[in-house]
Amino acid sequence: MATETARKPYVRHRSAMWWTKNPRYFLFQIRELSAVFVALYAFLVLYQLWVLRQGAESYRAFLDLWFSGPMVLLGLAILGFTVLHAVTWFLLTPKVLAARLARSPASSALVFVVMLAVWIAVSYVVVAFLYAPPAPVPPGGH
């Protein structure tokens, strides 16, 4: 007689280190982590504005902190993660666009290049604006 085998399917549990198994998983995790740094930067800018409101004294203290060694390193990390964040975002954008637009590898590459170019252009404008020499004061004061 056939025995009714009480059969339990075996469920394997996924290791917590699954993201170390291949470079793409690893890149994915870093990509997701980059959002934290982008958000962190946003908070730092808000903090900067708030400190500015407190007055010249506290702003000078902020600048001392901002240009200290550890903060520069953090700044570099934020820059690195933000670039990664933007570049991976631009690479994925063609996939989200309507099928007709992103049909060929050529058109996907074009979307990436256009987005990158726009980002660089906007960044240039912002940096130029921020670091433009101050308008000369007309003789006789404001």
């Binding site: 996924r14 699954w18 291949n22 997701e32």
Partner: protein
Amino acid sequence: MAEKTIQLRVMRYRPERSDDPFYQVYTIPYRDDMVVLDALNYIKDHVDPTLTYRWSCRMGICGSCGANIEGTPKLTCSVFLRDLRRQPVTIEPLANFPILKDLIVDIEDFMDKLLRVKPYIIREKEKPLERGEYRQTQEEVDMFRQQSLCINCMLCYSACPVYGHDDRFLGPAASALAYRYLQDSRDEGGDARIAAIASTHGIWQCTFVGECSVVCPKDVDPAGAIQQLKAMAATKLMKSMLLPLASR
């Protein structure tokens, strides 16, 4: 001249022998034109007839023979032993699925999900057959052709860390199939289908890891399909909120 051999390390699951899976190493004769499936068949025919696995067409179109080879989901009929660098070659059942026996996994979850995306042409009114086919240009066919190539091998589910974490996720293949029908000019079931998939455990659970598209043997690009579904679902929602009458 000694015959060339190759070693395979295969994961077995035999509850009558042990509660947990275990590995068994086999050494078999090697030929340059062997694929992993040939090796499994050799083992079963000549070394260990108890080794159990699925296969049929041996040409990469039936989707039966998925397995994790050296940690990556692949079709055993399409992987040449000569392309594998490490020995012993480790062969395990497809990841993220419960193991039934040896390399056989339970794919019933996928079969249920297939049903959920309504994978058939939905039309309000059918044209009588005598009046001929629904005219469709080759460009219109190309709109869904890529996603229609899915062989249901489920390598994508094995590669997806989201599915590995939560098997309620609709998953790449089922989503790609939904996209295939939504893009088919003959289909009119867009609303019903989007409603079925634009849910928490539907397409929105995807975080665009993209590994599914990397492992897909038929270049279906389910990741791309899911992102476009997200765009379609979001657009539809926006339209229905801003133009409630027009979206009927």
